[in-house]
């Protein structure tokens, strides 16, 4: 692939990352506020934590008071905001690649930040799930309130991949040092 095509691809990936980030946050909020977007018989437009809770019959945001809906939006957004931090670094990484900065030290730091963010996103999901489940079922009838804690196989895979990305970022950092040293040879 030529440099121009690579730069264009990187630019498109940067835009796609931004679009995904905005869409993710907006749809997550909308899933709790707009009936029919999520839930077991909805359109399926919810993300991870929100999706798993809205699929529960006991969780019906349509009957939530406004403060409970707002709290659900905020709690479910916490892991997504953690992921957003990483996605912004990913966008910056693609932006650097679009400018041809393949071996810049900042590329390695962006990649490592992205990997760390995915790991923290998994952790935030695990920590926010009991909070969100308690929050969304606190007004449910007795016997339908619950606190949910789960660790899915997808979380394990995400943690593993995050670790891989972090290691690769460290290798890329060393590569950028070698490149910088090589550039000092004439």
């Amino acid at each position: 692939m030529s440099s121009d095509r690579l730069a264009r691809l990187a630019q498109r990936m940067a835009l796609a990352t931004l679009a995904l980030t905005v869409l993710m946050l907006v749809l997550n909020a909308a899933a709790w506020l707009v009936p029919g977007l999520a839930g077991s018989d909805g359109a399926g437009l919810a993300f991870s934590l929100s999706n798993s809770l809205l699929a529960q019959a006991a969780v019906d945001p349509q009957h939530f008071p406004w403060w409970q809906q707002l709290g659900a939006v905020l709690l479910s957004s916490v892991p997504l905001l953690v992921l957003t931090y990483g996605l912004m670094h990913l966008r910056a990484l693609f932006g650097g690649y679009a400018r041809g900065e393949y071996f810049a030290p900042t590329a390695a730091s962006h990649m490592e930040a992205t990997g760390r963010s995915v790991a923290y996103w998994v952790l935030a999901n695990t920590l926010c799930e009991p909070l969100l489940s308690a929050w969304t079922t606190m007004n449910a009838p007795v016997g339908q309130r619950f606190v949910s804690v789960s660790i899915e196989s997808s979380a394990i895979v995400a943690l593993f991949l995050a670790g891989c990305v972090i290691v690769i970022a460290r290798v890329l950092s060393r590569a950028s040092e070698l490149d910088r040293e090589n550039r000092q040879f004439v």
């Binding site: 040293e181 000092q184 040879f185 004439v186």
Partner: protein
């Protein structure tokens, strides 16, 4: 740095402009300037060969080893 670059001396002696040498050797004027000042990390053999060929000189005319003063030698002399 113990390796002294005497390229500027050879350029002046041969009356060659840095711009012309850089173009002939295939490096940028900025890199040639860094080389003259001794601020590069290393010199490729291909670049050294091209410089010697253009200036009709030997590598020894361009590079000189100047050992750094050893404090232990000074105390022995005293």
């Amino acid at each position: 740095m113990p390796i002294d670059i005497t390229l500027a001396v050879v350029l002046a002696r041969e009356k060659v402009k840095s711009k012309d040498l850089a173009a002939a050797v295939g490096i940028t004027e900025q890199n040639l300037s860094l080389l003259k000042q001794g601020k590069v990390k290393g010199l490729r053999f291909s670049t050294l060969e091209a410089i010697c060929k253009y200036l009709n000189c030997q590598p020894g005319d361009l590079l000189r080893y100047v050992p750094e003063a050893d404090p232990s030698d000074e105390s022995r002399v005293k």
